[in-house]
C-alpha cells in the first residue's frame, strides 16, 4: 500500500497504480482524452497534467502514466495546473476547431477562439486507436511519419486485410475522427462492422457480447464467437478484465451432453417467410418496404425507434401505411407455400390499430387482402372495431410496388373488386409475411424419422392424436405442427405435456430430491434483531450508489444488529454465508437491499427458511431497478434514495410477524362436466395418469357434437374414432361415467369440491379436487333462408347425418348450394364460428365424390380455411366447386316458387344477380355455446357476451380459469374442430394434473384475516371480493356466528376487503396497516 497526498488529503493506492486511478477512486476528476482503462497509458494528450511536489521541487507530470510513490504530494486543481491545461486545450482547438469534445473543453476554460492558426483536422493524435488495435491483436494501424506529418494510417496507406473490421478504433476514438465509413474506405479489405440484432430484426445493431433482449431468461450476456475479436486474433479479452467475478472464460468449448429421457416434445417453432425474392414488392431494395416482424419492433417501446412510429429511410413519421396480406402464404406462383399462415390477418389488423394509436397525426392504414381470416376468439369483434375506427380493408392483391422518384414514398398499383385499376402512394408498406418450417425443422424431422405434411410441418398421428408425431414417444406442439397463434400453441403445449406425462406417469417423482427441512425458530415476542445486507450487484448498484455508506447508515437504524455488503447477494456462497450469519448473530428479521422482490424475494425467503426463520420475516429494498439503474447520472441522490429505501424496509420488517401458510389436502379426484370429444379427452388424460375421474353427461350417450359429424378435415371417419374413444373411456377403471346427469349444487373450492349430481331420479354427491368445464356447444337452428319450411333446406350437421347414413338420395342431386355464416358474423352473434368454412368445403367435396357431375356452389363472405386446411379449398376449386362471394348487405335470397328452390345472390365478379335453382340448400349454421349460468355460478367462473366461458388469459391461459382448480376445454371455450378440441381436452387435463400431482397445496401467508370480535357483519367484504374468499360464519356455529371469515385458500391477498372494511376488522398479513404506516412515517424522516 502506498500512501500519498492528493490535494492535501491523505490517500492510498496499490504499488504500480497511476495517479489518475487513485484520484478516480477518491472522487477527484482529472480530465483526459487519450486514456482508457483497458489500455496502457501513453501520456499523449497532456490534458491530465497535474502538479507534483517531490519534497524538494514542484514538477508537472501526466497523471495517466505517472506511477504513485510513497510520500508524494499531488495537486490537481491549482491555478498553474489549469493554466497549463488551458494552453493545451487552446492548441488542440486550433488543430481541431470543429470537434465537439474539444469545443466543450475550450468553453469550460473560457476560450472562445484559439489564438493559433486554425487547421481543419479531427484527429488529436492521442494514439488510442493504435493502442486498441494492438490490443485487438490486429495491429493494422499505427502512427506514421514524423513531426508535422504524424498521422494514423495503415502501412503504405493501402487497405489491409490485417484490419478485421472490428470497429474498436471507431468506438474508442474520443473525437469522432474514425468512422465506419472511413474504415471501410481506407483501412480494411474485410467485411465487418454492423452486427444486426436478431431480436430487432436487424433494424438495430448489437455488440459481440450481448444479452439477446431485455427480458431474456437467463438474463446473462453471451459472447458471440462469430464476432468476438478474441476468437479471430487471440487479442482483446478486455471483458474478462472488466468482469468483477471472473465469470468470463474464453477457453470454454461447446460440450455434448447426453440426456436420458422417456419422451421428446418438439417445440421448434417457425421461421418468418423471407420476402426478398419477391422482386415486385422491392423488399430487398426499398427501405420503406418492411416485414410485419420488423414493424412489430418499430411499434415496440424497446425497439429501434423506442416505439416512435417512423419509417426507416428518413425517420419521417408516416401518414399512410399499407399492409399486404398473404406474402409467402396461399401462394404457389411465387413461393411454395400454398397453406394459409392463420395469424397474419389478425396481426395486420392489430398492427394497424396500434399504429393509429401511436401516431400523433391521423394515420391512414390500408390492408390489402384476399379473405379476412379473423377466426379466433374475440378476433371478429376486433376486426369490426378496426373497420369502425377507419382502418381501410381493400380486397385486392397488389401487383407491384415502385419508388416515387425524388422521394422515399412508394407507389402501388392494384385492381379493385369492381375491376378498376388504381394507383395509390404510401409512406410505408408492411408485408404480412407468413409462417413456414425452417430448414432446421425439416432436418430435425429427418433425423428423428418423422413424417412431414405437404407444407413441411410435422405430421401428427391423426386428428384424434393432435400432438403425437409419427413416432411413438415423440410429440409436437406449436407452429412446427402447423401455422397457428399463441392460444392454440399454448393449448397444444399443455396437451403435449399431458401426452408425455401419460407415458411417464409411472416414473413420477423418481428423480426428485427431497429437501431437508430446517425447524423453524419461534421469534414471537422477541425484540427485533434485524440484519441488513446491502448488495453491490457487481457494479450494477455499487457503480452508482455508495454501498458502504448505505451499509453504515443501515447500522445506525433502530433494531439493526448486523450489516454487511455483498458483491452478489444472490450467489450461492453469499446465500450460505447469510444463513450462517443469521444463525450466529441470532437475527430474527432480514432486509436485503438489492434488486427487485419480484424476481429475487423467493430466493432470499429460501435462505431464511434454511436459517430456521419464518420466510415472512423478510423485506427487500429495491435499490437496483428503482434506483441505481435509473439514476446513474445522479449518484448523490441515488445514494440518498437508497438510504431512504433501506430505512423504510427496516421500519417495515421490524413489524413483520411469522405467518402460517394454510396447508390443504387436494382431493385426488377430478370431475369433468360434459362427455363430448374434449371432455372425454380431458377425462382420459387425467385418468391415464392415475387419478379417479367422473364424467357428467346430461344426455344419455357420450360423444356430444361428434356424434353428428361425418369425417374430419383429414378424412378420418369420426364415428369409428369416436367409438374407439368411448369404449376406451368405458373400459378405463379410473373413469366413472354419469349419464343423464345434471349438477344440483357445488360447494367448496380448489382441492375440496363437493358436487351434488342428480341422475335417473336419484342423487349422488361427488367429492373432487378439480373440475373441468367441457359443456360444449351446439348447432344454431337457422331462422332464415326458408329453413324448416322445406326439407331441401338443411344445416351442415343435418347433411353430415345424411352422409353418415349414406343417404342414397344424395347421389341423385344435380345442384347443391351452401350458404356460409348463417347466424355467425352478424350483429346479433358477431363471432366467427371457425369450423363452418372447412366443414362446408369438406361436405362439398364429399358430394362431388358421390356425383362428380353435381353442380356445387358455396356462397361465402370470407373463406376461412386456415392453416393447411387451405389445401381443401384449393382441392374444391379444382374439383369444380364454385365459390361465390356475397356481402352482408346483400345476403342471398331464398325463395320457394312452384316447388322450385331458388337462391338469388349477387355475383361479386360480374356484380350482377345470379339465380340458382337447387335441390339441396345447406346452411353452414353458427356454433352456439350451451350457456349455463347456474353452472358458471356454481364454480364462480365468468361467461362472455356470446355465452362462451372466459378463460384465465386469452393467450397464455386458454384452458383454465382464474378461479383455482377449475379448467376449460372444447366448444364451451370457443368453436373449434375436432383436433383442436382433443388438444384442449388434453391441455385441461395437463393443467389439472399440475394441481392433482401436488397432493398438498400451500396457500400464501400474505392473505387477509378477519378479527371476528371487531367484525360488524356488514357484508361489504363478502360482496366486494373478486375471488369470493370472505363468507359469513354459519348462524349455528359455536363461535362468532354471522361474522365474516376469509378462506385463505381463495384469498389472493389483494387487500380490497381490508380497505373496504368499515370496522377495521380485516388485516392483510404482510401488508398490514401498521407496516405500511411505519414505511410512510419513516419515508420522509430525513427531510
Amino acid at each position: 500500500m502506498i500512501t500519498f497526498k492528493l490535494n492535501g488529503k491523505t490517500v492510498q493506492g496499490e504499488e504500480g497504480q497511476f495517479i489518475i486511478d487513485v484520484a478516480e477512486k477518491n472522487g477527484v476528476e482529472i480530465p483526459t482524452l487519450c486514456n482508457h482503462k483497458a489500455l496502457d497509458p501513453a501520456g499523449m494528450c497532456r490534458i491530465c497534467t497535474v502538479e507534483l511536489f517531490d519534497g524538494r521541487r514542484t514538477r508537472f507530470v501526466t497523471a495517466c502514466n505517472y506511477p504513485i510513490w510513497e510520500g508524494m504530494e499531488v495537486k490537481t486543481d491549482t491555478e498553474t495546473v489549469h493554466e497549463g491545461r488551458k494552453i493545451i486545450v487552446e492548441m488542440l482547438l486550433s488543430r481541431c476547431p470543429n470537434v465537439p469534445v474539444i469545443q466543450k473543453m475550450a468553453k469550460d476554460y473560457g476560450i472562445e477562439k484559439s489564438r493559433f492558426k486554425a487547421e481543419d483536422d479531427t484527429c488529436i493524435l492521442c494514439g488510442l486507436c493504435v493502442r486498441v488495435c494492438e490490443r485487438m491483436g490486429a495491429n493494422a494501424i499505427m502512427l506514421t511519419n514524423r513531426g508535422l506529418d504524424l498521422k494514423v494510417d495503415t502501412p503504405f496507406s493501402i487497405n489491409t486485410d490485417a484490419c478485421i473490421g472490428c470497429g474498436a478504433c471507431a468506438f474508442i476514438c474520443p473525437t469522432g475522427h474514425i468512422t465506419w465509413d472511413k474504415i471501410k474506405e481506407n483501412v480494411t479489405t474485410q467485411p465487418g462492422g454492423f452486427i444486426p440484432s436478431e431480436y430487432d430484426m436487424g433494424l438495430k445493431g448489437r455488440k459481440p457480447v450481448y444479452v439477446p433482449y431485455a427480458q431474456a431468461v437467463p438474463n446473462t450476456p453471451a459472447i458471440d464467437r462469430d464476432y468476438c475479436v478474441h476468437f479471430k486474433t487471440g487479442g482483446c479479452k478486455i471483458c474478462a478484465e472488466y468482469c468483477g467475478v471472473d465469470a468470463i472464460d474464453h477457453a470454454m468449448e461447446d460440450e455434448i451432453v447426453e440426456l436420458n429421457v422417456g419422451s421428446i416434445i418438439l417445440t421448434t417453432g417457425f421461421e418468418p417467410f423471407d420476402p426478398s425474392k419477391f422482386d415486385s414488392y422491392g423488399y430487398a431494395k426499398l427501405p420503406n418496404v418492411i416485414t410485419s416482424m420488423e414493424f412489430e419492433r418499430i411499434l415496440s417501446a424497446s425497439g429501434p425507434t423506442m416505439g416512435h412510429l417512423a419509417r426507416m429511410s428518413d425517420h419521417k413519421e408516416p401518414k399512410k401505411i399499407a399492409w399486404f396480406q398473404c406474402v409467402g402464404s396461399r401462394d404457389l406462383n411465387r413461393c411454395d407455400n400454398s397453406f394459409c399462415s392463420s395469424v397474419c390477418c389478425m396481426y395486420a389488423i392489430k398492427e394497424a390499430v396500434i399504429a393509429k394509436e401511436h401516431s400523433k397525426e391521423p394515420l391512414d392504414c390500408a390492408i390489402f387482402y384476399m379473405d379476412m381470416r379473423t377466426h379466433g376468439k374475440e378476433f371478429e369483434r376486433f376486426y369490426n372495431k378496426a373497420q369502425h375506427d377507419g382502418v381501410r380493408f381493400i380486397r385486392s392483391r397488389v401487383h407491384t410496388v415502385e419508388p416515387v422518384p425524388g422521394s422515399d414514398d412508394l407507389s402501388i398499383r392494384y385492381v379493385t373488386e369492381a375491376g378498376e385499376a388504381k394507383t395509390e402512394i404510401f409512406d410505408m408498406i408492411v408485408l404480412s409475411i407468413g409462417l413456414q418450417s425452417s430448414k432446421d425443422n425439416i432436418a430435425l424431422a429427418a433425423k428423428l424419422g418423422l413424417d412431414l405434411t405437404a407444407g413441411n410441418f410435422c405430421k401428427t398421428a391423426s386428428s384424434f392424436e393432435p400432438v403425437a408425431t409419427s413416432k411413438e414417444g415423440i410429440f409436437v406442439c406449436g407452429a412446427f405442427e402447423g401455422p397457428k397463434d399463441i392460444p392454440q400453441s399454448v393449448v397444444e403445449s399443455s396437451a403435449a405435456a399431458s401426452a408425455a406425462g401419460e407415458l411417464l406417469s409411472a416414473a413420477r417423482n423418481t428423480l426428485t430430491k427431497k429437501k431437508e427441512i430446517v425447524p423453524e425458530i419461534n421469534v414471537v415476542n422477541e425484540r427485533p434483531r434485524i440484519g441488513v445486507f446491502v448488495c453491490n450487484c457487481g457494479i450494477n448498484i455499487g457503480g452508482v450508489v455508495d454501498v458502504p455508506a448505505v451499509r453504515d447508515y443501515a447500522a445506525s437504524l433502530p433494531y439493526v444488529e448486523f450489516v454487511a455488503d455483498n458483491m452478489y447477494s444472490c450467489s450461492q456462497d453469499t446465500q450460505d454465508a447469510m444463513t450462517q450469519i443469521i444463525k450466529q448473530k441470532n437475527l430474527n428479521r432480514v432486509v436485503v437491499a438489492a434488486c427487485t422482490p419480484k424476481t429475487h424475494e423467493p430466493l432470499f425467503k429460501e435462505t431464511l427458511i434454511n436459517a430456521g426463520l419464518n420466510k415472512y420475516l423478510f423485506e427487500m429494498a429495491n435499490i437496483r431497478n428503482h434506483d441505481s439503474w435509473v439514476h446513474k447520472n445522479n449518484p448523490e441522490l441515488a445514494t440518498q434514495k437508497a438510504k431512504d429505501l433501506v430505512r423504510m424496509a427496516v421500519a417495515k420488517v421490524g413489524l413483520m410477524q411469522p405467518l402460517k401458510e394454510a396447508e390443504l389436502e387436494v382431493n385426488q379426484t377430478a370431475l369433468v362436466i360434459g362427455g363430448g370429444i374434449s371432455g372425454m379427452n380431458a377425462a382420459k388424460g387425467i385418468a391415464k395418469q392415475g387419478y379417479k375421474t367422473h364424467i357428467i353427461e346430461k344426455s344419455g350417450q357420450l360423444g356430444g357434437q361428434a356424434l353428428s359429424i361425418h369425417h374430419t378435415a383429414r378424412g378420418e371417419n369420426v364415428q369409428d374414432e369416436l367409438g374407439r374413444l368411448v369404449s376406451e373411456i368405458e373400459k378405463n377403471e379410473n373413469i366413472v361415467v354419469h349419464l343423464n346427469a345434471t349438477l344440483q349444487n357445488v360447494e367448496g373450492f380448489v382441492g375440496n369440491f363437493k358436487t351434488t349430481v342428480s341422475k335417473n331420479g336419484g342423487q349422488d354427491t361427488i367429492a373432487h379436487g378439480i373440475a373441468v368445464m367441457a359443456t360444449g356447444a351446439s348447432e344454431f337452428k337457422p331462422e332464415e333462408y326458408q329453413y324448416g319450411k322445406d326439407p331441401r333446406v338443411i344445416t351442415g350437421l343435418e347433411l353430415d347425418k345424411k352422409l353418415i347414413e349414406n343417404d342414397a338420395a344424395l347421389k341423385k342431386i344435380s345442384t347443391a348450394v351452401f350458404i356460409q355464416c348463417v347466424g355467425s358474423r352478424e350483429p346479433s352473434r358477431p363471432y366467427c364460428s371457425r369450423v363452418c368454412c372447412t366443414h362446408s368445403v369438406l361436405s362439398a367435396l364429399e358430394l362431388k365424390k358421390k356425383n362428380p357431375d353435381m353442380s356445387v356452389f358455396i356462397l361465402y363472405r370470407d373463406m376461412r380455411t386456415y392453416g393447411e386446411r387451405e389445401y381443401l379449398y384449393k382441392q374444391a376449386r379444382e374439383a369444380g366447386v364454385i365459390f361465390v362471394r356475397y356481402d352482408i348487405e346483400n345476403k342471398p335470397d331464398v325463395q320457394i316458387q312452384k316447388g322450385k328452390l331458388l337462391v338469388n345472390v349477387i355475383d361479386h365478379v360480374l356484380g350482377r344477380p345470379m339465380e340458382l335453382e337447387t335441390d339441396l340448400l345447406v346452411l353452414a349454421s353458427a356454433v352456439v355455446p350451451n350457456k349455463d349460468e347456474t353452472l358458471a355460478q356454481f364454480f364462480k367462473v365468468p361467461l362472455n357476451e356470446d355465452g362462451f366461458f372466459v378463460e384465465k388469459h386469452a393467450k397464455l391461459g386458454p384452458s383454465e380459469f382464474a378461479t383455482d382448480g377449475v379448467f376449460l376445454c372444447g366448444l364451451a371455450h370457443y368453436p373449434k374442430p375436432i383436433d383442436e378440441s382433443v388438444a384442449q381436452g388434453r391441455a385441461a387435463a395437463s393443467r389439472a394434473i399440475t394441481l392433482l400431482a401436488q397432493e398438498k397445496i400451500h396457500t400464501s401467508g400474505e392473505v387477509a384475516k378477519i378479527e371476528p370480535a371487531v367484525c360488524s357483519s356488514c357484508g361489504v367484504c363478502v360482496s366486494i371480493c373478486p375471488y369470493s374468499a370472505p363468507s359469513f360464519i354459519p348462524k349455528e356455529a359455536r363461535f362468532f356466528p354471522g361474522k365474516a371469515e376469509v378462506n385463505p385458500v381463495l384469498c389472493k391477498g389483494c387487500g380490497l376487503c381490508v380497505a373496504s372494511c368499515r370496522s377495521g376488522a380485516i388485516h392483510l398479513m404482510g401488508f398490514d396497516n401498521d407496516q405500511i404506516f411505519s414505511q410512510i412515517s419513516v419515508a420522509m424522516e430525513a427531510m
Binding site: 431485455a214 427480458q215 424497446s302 427487485t596 422482490p597 419480484k598 424476481t599 429495491n622 437496483r624 431497478n625 428503482h626 434506483d627 439503474w629 435509473v630 439514476h631 446513474k632 447520472n633 445522479n634 441522490l637 441515488a638 440518498q640 434514495k641 431512504d644 429505501l645 423504510m648 400474505e1006 391477498g1053 389483494c1054 387487500g1055 380490497l1056 381490508v1058 380497505a1059 392483510l1068 401488508f1071 396497516n1073 405500511i1076 404506516f1077 414505511q1079 410512510i1080 412515517s1081 419515508a1083 420522509m1084 427531510m1087
Partner: protein
C-alpha cells in the same frame, strides 16, 4: 442542492406499476430520483388514510398507481 428536491410518496401495485418500474430499470431508463416507493399487493389495498398519513408526514405529494 440548488433546486428543491421534493419527495413523492408512491404506492405501486406489485403486479402493474411496480413491474413497470422494474422494467424501466432493466431498460436503464432515467427519471427523477424523487419518488419513494411502497409496494402494495394491489391498489385495492389503498386506503385514504395512507394518503393522508403520507402528506401529514411531510410528503410533497402522493402518487397511487395501479
Amino acid at each position: 442542492m440548488s433546486e428543491r428536491e421534493p419527495k413523492i410518496l408512491s404506492f405501486l401495485c406489485t403486479w402493474c406499476s411496480y413491474g413497470a418500474a422494474d422494467l424501466a430499470g432493466v431498460s436503464r431508463m432515467e427519471y427523477p430520483p424523487n419518488i419513494r416507493v411502497i409496494r402494495i399487493p394491489c391498489t385495492g389495498r389503498m386506503s385514504p388514510k395512507f394518503i393522508l398519513a403520507g402528506l401529514r408526514q411531510g410528503a410533497d405529494a402522493v402518487w397511487v398507481s395501479g
